[in-house]
Symmetry: C2
């Protein structure tokens, strides 16, 4: 499948790399490809620059958000939550119309330090904001409840764990479930409509505190039933 | 141990019954014991009245919130989140001072229908509100992330699942962990200070939506790591 991954951070890299390894044609979208490739410093989190990752993944193309989205059948929003709506504006409503848009972002607000709070919650969600802003996109909230490496390789935990999908379009959700299963996810719960993204986004506060208590981000929730 | 359970609903009944079965001396607290026992109608959720439960659990005493708390070494707040601060006022700050206060409640706001929203979240929690209102109580947030029957009998799931404790007082948390283990919990994660109750209370939105998607409340989260 032709897939655009919008965002060059750890999440974008993990998803783009995995999709490429699985045989998809992947274009990573960024604001300014030349500027992204010119960066040689680690990011604010100390992660290596995108150019280092890209050197090891030459089969993945880098393009503007709009070019990446235009050529894709399925688009993954892997930008930060605070940038998401602007990134998708740059991708362009016309380039998203009719396409499955997998929203992986969380509306984290770091303005008051760590742990971040949520800029939207409880009575709304980032997933719903995206759907309202791009009504012709087929938005599916998914993969926003675990870290980048487990998103694409859940089997590394050695035990089954759970991921969730939320969305209004049953066919779009089915396509995303197929992708998740191709990553190794063996327990995908369809929570229902996009309103249920409020639930998965509000998992972040305990996720962040568990990361602190456990001293690792290599964990995930399993819904035992 | 002498334990007060404040609240006569499903959560209070489950916890009081289990503690009594484990050999503790249990007093259930209510606003007006005579009125509570006089009620013969099911509650708003269709559950049998407290008097029916009490008839089958004659070893558990019923008293006012204040009498129950006064005689207890450990107090469990099993009232609804919207009533919690008033219930604890009735129990009395002096009767709570120095005691372990297990806060099981969630700040659910049903005023806009189902699913409820949270009346406090993200930058504060009900657990922290309770601690600020009763600074001499040793508040431990626990058991607010699963349904009443699983709170006291997690082994009925057939697989290990996780519960959490949050609080400022290490000895109080240790006492609560002992109680949880006596209920059958085999994976208790200490998240840290009471601020982490924001995380467990914000699990409720996905818990409620999972109940809808799965068609049952007989599930719990396991933190796979």
């Amino acid at each position: 499948m032709n897939i655009a991954v919008l965002g060059t951070g750890m999440v974008g890299q993990a998803i783009a790399g995995r999709l490429h390894d699985l045989g998809h044609s992947v274009v990573v979208g960024t604001r300014d490809p030349r500027a992204t490739l010119a960066r040689t410093e680690p990011d604010q989190m100390g992660n290596p620059p995108f150019s280092a990752w890209h050197g090891a993944h030459t089969g993945v193309e880098l393009a503007t958000f709009a070019d990446a989205a235009a050529r894709a059948e399925l688009v993954v929003n892997a930008s930060s939550g605070s940038a998401t709506l602007e990134v998708l504006q740059q991708a362009g409503a016309d380039n998203l119309a009719g396409k499955v848009l997998v929203d992986v972002a969380n509306p984290l607000d770091f303005s008051a330090g760590f742990p971040p709070t949520l800029s939207v919650k409880d009575t709304d969600s980032l997933g719903e904001q995206v759907q309202r802003a791009f009504p012709q996109a087929r938005v599916v909230k998914a993969l926003n409840t675990l870290n980048a490496s487990l998103m694409v390789d859940p089997r590394s935990l050695g035990q089954s764990s759970t991921v969730f999908v939320s969305g209004e379009d049953a066919d779009a959700k089915a396509a995303v479930v197929d992708l998740l299963e191709s990553f190794g996810h063996d327990d995908v719960i369809d929570l229902g409509g996009l309103e249920t993204a409020r639930g998965t986004e509000m998992l972040l506060p305990i996720w962040l505190r568990l990361m602190g208590a456990l001293g690792t981000a290599q964990f995930n929730f399993k819904v035992v039933r």
